[in-house]
């Protein structure tokens, strides 16, 4: 097929159907039949245009609720900050403008500042300006706790080693390090003037943002060579057999220990002892380095939250946004935002959870992993469910094969979603009751208690039954406890039980002072009192 025909076809693609001539329509029809390339690319475009199969799957009910909560909390916080900082913003703009004028004047009158050579920079920096021992922050650790963010971490001249888990360090000076497992380093210097790391063994991945601080000297020392870094993303491996450099971006000078010969490592190149000849990075190497960068990006010290993850049994692999960060028990600083957490262990079911990491937040998660061979259903405990359920016709099933049960449960959840969309509350409630009765002790049944309770409260005019359901949920607790507690107060309000409503609202405000419903709860409490 001639490429000119393909170009003509592309040009006609955007023309409206009604404006095409007979000849053009004929051409398009024939071209699609005869040109494999155009036919293939058109099919791909059709696939991404298919709205029935979106790229990103819709969130399930629980995740959607959490998502909504997070957004509304952030929206409320943003509103508060906006009103307070209006005046402060003006002050900052004025100060920034003054600083900028000063900087430009300095550039014009001082030739030293234009000189980018490290040597000159070293000579010009007065010693009094060197700040000793900049704060080093451990961003992830396989130990039981991280050192407090507020404390100055004094790791200067101490050996830092990793076992099974990688470790990320923020050095200040816009330098971040990722230590692979089985790595040992020693920080020889870390001040405003220089950062010198001795790599004793293992692999160190480093990222230094260029030109962030013009005077900062960054060097990695091994027994075979020193690696002087200008501002770049790279990895150094050193052990008894090999010393190797891989550069993703930027320039690294390799200074041989014995001969003082200087070699270069440049973007997408690698070099290794003893010859230090440059070779191109393979696609695999590039992939590996990019993945490490993604991992570092997760840990980077920028409005991070603190996350502690443990599991029974221990030693489960922890992935955040598909990046491996270590094994449980694990404590880590994670960059703020929505993250997807996966916990995996051989012979155990994988656990997936959506997290929202707020700045300076602390979260703790304990996961009890279920074995893959265990059936989905466990021993049926009817007592609590029967108290709440008015539908005695649905009886719990005996133990089923895991796959069939999971499928059926999924179908039931889909049915519920369909009923809710059509606002057929009775049908949705019935479906929820079936899930609770047939699959008790599953997370879905536990969540369904709250969903069913809300339906009964808001749409089916059954506040007392709804109250039982909320109490049942709150007895065990879970991620919807906040919602269940507030709904419980609403149920008491409808039942005109003033004292219970007051107690519930007070408990709600004590446990969740920052909740979206908190202002409403306060106002109601004031009215009642």
């Amino acid at each position: 097929m001639k490429s000119t025909d393909c170009e003509k076809k592309q040009a006609l693609y955007l023309k409206e159907n009604s404006l095409l001539s007979q000849e053009e329509r004929h051409f398009l029809k024939n071209h699609k039949k005869n040109c494999d390339d155009c036919s293939f690319t058109d099919d791909i475009f059709k696939m991404i245009s298919n709205k029935e199969e979106p790229f990103v799957q819709p969130l399930d009910e629980l995740s959607q609720r959490r998502w909504n909560q997070d957004i509304l909390i952030k929206y409320n916080n943003t509103n508060q900050v906006k009103t307070k900082t209006k005046g402060a913003r003006l002050l900052i703009i004025t100060a920034a403008a003054t600083l900028l004028m000063g900087f430009i004047s300095g550039l014009i009158f001082s030739s030293d500042l234009l000189n980018k050579k490290q040597d000159l920079a070293i000579e010009s920096l007065p010693i009094s300006d060197i700040k000793e021992n900049q704060e080093i922050k451990i961003l992830t650790s396989g130990q039981s706790s991280l050192l407090s963010n507020k404390e100055k971490t004094n790791l200067f001249q101490k050996e830092i080693s990793t076992n099974e888990n990688p470790m990320a360090l923020s050095m200040g000076n816009n330098i971040a390090l990722l230590l692979e497992p089985q790595t040992k380093i020693k920080i020889e210097a870390n001040n405003s003037f220089e950062t010198i790391i001795r790599l004793i063994k293992g692999t160190l991945f480093a990222n230094k943002i260029p030109f962030a601080t013009a005077t900062n000297h960054f060097e990695i020392i091994t027994t075979r060579a020193n690696f002087e870094v200008k501002g770049t993303i790279f990895e150094v491996t050193h052990n008894s057999d090999v010393t190797r450099l891989r550069v993703l971006k930027g320039n690294v000078e390799i200074i041989e220990k014995n001969t003082q010969n200087i070699h270069k490592g440049t973007s997408l190149q690698k070099a290794s002892y003893p010859k230090w000849e440059q070779h191109s990075l393979s696609q695999n190497d590039q992939n590996l380095l990019i993945n490490k960068m993604k991992t570092m990006d997760l840990f980077e010290k920028q409005n991070e939250g603190n996350l502690e993850i443990s599991s029974t049994p221990k030693g489960a692999l922890v992935f955040i946004d598909n990046q491996y960060i270590g094994k449980t028990p694990l404590v880590s600083s994670i960059r703020q935002g929505h993250r997807m957490l996966n916990i995996k262990k051989e012979n155990f079911q994988t656990v997936t959870e959506h997290l929202n990491i707020a700045p300076e937040s602390k979260q703790s998660r304990l996961f009890s992993l279920e074995t893959l061979s265990a059936p989905l259903l466990v021993k049926n405990e009817q007592e609590d469910q029967e108290k709440a359920s008015t539908d005695t016709q649905v009886k719990p099933r005996a133990t089923q094969t895991q796959a069939a049960s999971a499928n059926e449960l999924k179908n039931m959840m889909d049915k519920v979603a369909g009923h809710r969309l059509r606002q057929d509350w009775q049908a949705a409630a019935l479906e929820y009751k079936k899930i609770i009765a047939r699959y008790p002790n599953t997370p879905q049944a536990h969540t369904a208690l709250v969903s069913l309770g809300l339906l009964e409260l808001n749409h089916l005019n059954q506040p007392s039954i709804a109250l039982n359901r909320f109490n049942l949920y709150l007895r065990k607790g879970g991620p919807l406890s906040q919602e269940a507690l507030f709904a419980k107060a609403t149920a008491y309000k409808i039942l005109s039980n003033k004292n219970s409503e007051i107690k519930t609202l007070e408990e709600f405000l004590r446990r969740y002072p920052g909740a979206v419903e908190a202002p409403k709860a306060k106002a109601r409490l004031k009215t009642l009192k």
Partner: protein, 238 residues
């Protein structure tokens, strides 16, 4: 009917008729917008809101149920759009969240002149442009290399591995410049017309058309050269 007679009829009519004819005063362009908008309006049957405008007004007054309904309604669309805009990167959910916050913050400015979906698309695109500008050089490095590597391995288990293909498409789309990417995604993923894209991105229709053409051609070349896409093509032919 010419424009003058339409205007006169509109002047005598009710507020409702006037609104309809106001669209027609711009002729062909806005008739197209109305016809595509019909399919994309929010389903407000059995809710207490009479129209999208009513929903927006209540949400802007801080009514929690209106805001939650809005979020439930727009989340999937916004997340899907953001996933393509970021090339399937780690920051897609961050962008989606920021977009939805921007939507809630500015819901008071929704006047009902377009559908809620289109209006939300515009806010999302504007948020994306701001987000894109703020990103560091290191993050741009991700985009530069992202087309040729991912966490997953470069093979397909079956011809039906559509999610994998979509992921790769998102990555390839992510290598286009922001403006071309926006035009392409709005056209193919969100089904916007050229006029709507021009309205959303504050550009002329001819500019949108040019961007789309160039984007499609660039993307076509990348698809035909991509190893994973070639693999999928072979599997399909078997």
């Amino acid at each position: 009917m010419d424009c003058h007679s339409i205007f006169i009829v509109g002047g005598f009519g009710s507020f409702f008729i006037k609104k309809t004819y106001l669209f027609n005063l711009d002729g062909h362009l806005l008739i197209d917008m109305v016809s595509t908008q019909k399919n994309e309006k929010t389903n407000l049957l059995k809710t207490r809101w009479s129209s999208e405008l009513n929903l927006a007004q209540e949400a802007s007054l801080g009514r929690l149920d209106a805001q939650q309904f809005l979020l439930n309604h727009l989340t999937s669309r916004v997340r899907n759009l953001c996933s393509y805009l970021t090339g399937g990167g780690n920051d897609q959910d961050d962008l989606a969240q920021n977009s939805l916050i921007a939507i809630i913050s500015s819901i008071g400015t929704f006047k009902g002149e377009s559908t809620l979906y289109r209006w939300a698309d515009r806010i999302t695109i504007n948020t994306f442009y701001k987000h894109h500008k703020k990103k560091s050089r290191r993050t741009n490095l991700f985009k530069k290399y992202f087309q040729s590597h991912t966490q997953n391995e470069d093979y397909l288990e079956s011809e039906l591995d559509k999610n994998r293909i979509k992921q790769r498409m998102a990555e390839l789309i992510g290598t286009l410049s922001p403006k071309k990417r926006t035009a392409l995604i709005l056209y193919h993923v969100n089904g916007c017309s050229i006029e709507e894209i021009a309205h959303i991105t504050h550009t002329k229709q001819n500019t949108v058309r040019d961007r789309l053409q160039v984007a499609r051609e660039d993307l076509r070349k990348k698809i035909l050269a991509d190893p994973l896409m070639c693999e999928w093509r072979k599997l399909r032919l078997k």
